[in-house]
């Protein structure tokens, strides 16, 4: 099996080598070519390691390089843990790209989630007032072209 570093969601293939490391709880000082120092402060939690250096922070995790099957493009996912404030569409509705589908609210802010493409609402999986998790599927769309059966690769 192959493994891959994910740094704040981005894959990293090669990590620096040939450097000297000084432990410095809670972190490390990395010495490169005998001079450049990269201070790294680290903390564990939330299924990963959080790394800080000079104003930058990254969350690092390691996962199997074979990605889990992503939800289809026409699935509308919760962008953060939130409460569903309003559901603006019902199954069978024809929607166009950019049209508002669901409004979720978190931390006093409302987020309007819009259709990424033209299509028809296939399924609405949440109700108003429901708490949703990060990445939870809220609404499923089916592409209009697919339904028409005229294009396969649209």
């Amino acid at each position: 099996m192959k493994f891959q570093y994910k740094v704040s969601g981005r894959p990293v293939l090669n990590i620096p080598r040939n450097c000297t490391v000084l432990a410095s709880r809670p972190g490390f000082h990395v010495v490169l070519n005998g001079q450049k120092v990269v201070p790294l402060i680290v903390a564990r939690g939330g299924g990963g390691v959080h790394v800080f250096s000079r104003g930058m922070t990254r969350k690092v995790s390691v996962r199997n390089a074979v990605e889990r099957v992503q939800a289809a493009n026409n699935a509308v996912l919760a962008p953060l843990p939130a409460v569903v404030a309003r559901v603006l569409v019902a199954p069978g509705d024809r929607v166009s790209q950019g049209q508002a589908l669901v409004v979720v609210s978190a931390m006093k802010v409302e987020f309007t989630l819009v259709a990424g493409c033209d299509g028809v609402v296939q399924e609405v999986r949440v109700k108003e007032g429901e708490k949703v998790k990060l990445g939870q599927v809220l609404v499923l769309l089916s592409g209009a072209e697919v339904e028409d059966g005229s294009h396969d690769s649209a």
Binding site: V21, F28, I41, V42, R44, G46, V49, T57, R58, A100
Partner: protein, 491 residues
């Protein structure tokens, strides 16, 4: 002077007020919701009273519970902080009716200032330029006619809103209906008031505001202006004073207009008058804030004054001892608000545990933390982690100092805006002072975190998950098994 004051707030607002109360030898009583048991404000207060459920309407915004806590602890005054009930005239009235002092303006002034439509027309009558807009609360067909008269693009704004909530943009007539509905719904959700009005959306204005202090005897001073143009979702993110690039004559004119506005509104206490300024130096009244503001530390740094102390003195009936000529500028101040949010996904707020929190230090740096290391950011509240404020001899040095301070600020556990803030401070447009209310969101569109750091972060992971014997030489590290590494988690 008051003996004991209840602070009806949480986070940085409560912490800020409690600090001054302690310096003045006044007892400080905190209140806290279920989610804030480990709140920083609870740790700093002399006494703390539990309010119950985390939802604001059942805790910080529950007038009965807050006043009950003040009476039960023998307080003689209530400080509302900012946000929650700070601008609620009903709350101020209930505090007075309970025989306690309210550290803020009278309920009558709060009603007047809080109704933006009324405040606007009163000031227009007094000869102050207001941002063009509808004179009345708006709905349906009448809204379309008014919108045509004012001209697009325009804003639909809550009559009682604040903190950037209850505002929607209508770029063209087709947007109006949904903007009306959304602004109205958000206003109702936040303030239990559906009323909205229309305001012209000025193209690329600057947001300039003036800190004003007035006592009940008519004594009044301004504490200079603040430049607050860098905003997202109508919420300020970076503020500074003095405002760069404005002539002394213009700044004086804006400050004097602010004093006149507060006099017209018969304001008492510490408050702010906000203006929009265009490129030709014309400025219009936007709104008045009858309370302390999140960004007040900018003014405290520039003037060396304690605004909360002045506010408390005025509330217990003392006359303002400051005259305008006593107010001195001692440098250039900048504030950055550090939020748990992701600048790359529309500044979506983040919640979760704060694994590590280390404020910056050194000369001219002030860090007002809103949370404590080891606590969790709750979804219920504003995701502010800290405000970092710097003071230096001039703007150039203040910018360098802020960049340095941000690079020292360690927040681990949640995504934050720190790297984004650092990069915008280093951008040419910010450095030149050529900023307006659109700049921050434009900058965010093409901003990316520095990907060259990713590999170092991965190294940090690898080191953290290796045995200490392996750590001395990276070249000698054994191939990594993630399963071995991950077994450490969850402890």
């Amino acid at each position: 002077m008051f003996k004991k004051v209840l602070v009806a707030n949480r986070g940085d607002a409560a912490v800020r007020v409690i600090r001054t109360l302690r310096e003045m030898g006044i007892g400080a009583v905190a209140v806290f919701s279920e989610a804030d048991r480990d709140g920083l404000h609870v740790a700093l207060a002399d006494e703390a009273v539990a309010l119950g459920d985390s939802e604001p309407s059942k805790s910080y915004c529950n007038i009965e519970k807050v006043i009950g806590a003040a009476k039960a602890t023998g307080c003689d005054a209530v400080h509302p902080g900012y946000g929650f009930l700070a601008e609620d005239a009903g709350f101020a009235r209930a505090v007075l009716d309970a025989g306690l002092a309210f550290i803020g303006p009278s309920p009558e002034v709060l009603v007047l200032v809080g109704n933006k439509v009324e405040a606007r027309s009163l000031l227009a009558e007094a000869g102050i330029d207001i941002v063009p807009g509808s004179q009345d609360v708006i709905s349906g067909e009448w809204a379309e006619k008014e919108a045509e008269r004012i001209g697009y693009p325009l804003l639909v704004k809550s009559v009682v809103g604040g903190g950037g909530r209850g505002i929607r943009v209508a770029q063209k007539p087709a947007d109006l209906a949904s903007a009306l509905r959304e602004a109205s719904d958000e206003s109702f959700a936040a303030f239990l008031d559906k009323r909205v009005y229309l305001e012209k959306l000025l193209e690329r204005p600057r947001h300039i505001e003036v800190q004003v202090i007035r006592d009940r005897y008519g004594g009044a001073v301004h504490l200079f202006e603040r430049e607050c143009s860098l905003q997202r979702r109508f919420q300020k993110v970076i503020e500074e004073s003095p405002a760069p690039g404005l002539s002394e004559v213009l700044k004086e004119a804006i400050a004097n207009t602010a004093l006149r506005a507060m006099e017209t509104l018969r304001f008492e206490g510490v408050g702010t008058v906000e203006f929009l300024l265009d490129r030709r130096g014309r400025f219009w009244f936007l709104e008045a804030n009858p309370r302390l503001q999140v960004e007040h530390p900018v003014t405290e740094m520039r003037t060396g004054l304690d605004l909360v102390r002045l506010q408390i003195e005025i509330a217990c009936g003392m006359g303002l001892s400051l005259r305008q000529e006593d107010v001195h500028s001692i440098g250039h101040a900048i504030e950055c608000r550090i939020y748990a949010e992701d600048p790359q996904s529309g500044f979506a707020p983040r919640s979760g545990p704060i694994l590590m929190l280390r404020p910056p230090g050194g000369p001219g740096v002030r860090a007002d933390l809103a949370v404590i290391e080891g606590s969790s950011l709750s979804q219920e509240y504003d995701p502010l982690i800290a405000k970092v404020v710097v003071l230096a001899e001039d703007r150039t040095r203040a910018i360098s100092r802020m960049v340095r301070a941000l690079e020292e600020t360690v927040v681990l556990g949640v995504d934050t805006s720190i790297e984004f803030l650092r990069d915008i401070l280093k951008s040419d447009r910010f450095i030149s002072g050529n900023i307006d209310t659109s700049y921050l969101e434009e900058f965010a569109k093409c901003w990316k975190p520095d990907e060259s750091f990713d590999a170092w972060a991965a190294l940090g992971y690898r080191l953290e998950c290796s045995s200490s014997a392996d750590q001395a030489k990276v070249s000698q590290l054994a191939p990594l098994s993630p399963w071995k590494a991950l077994k450490h988690f969850g402890r």
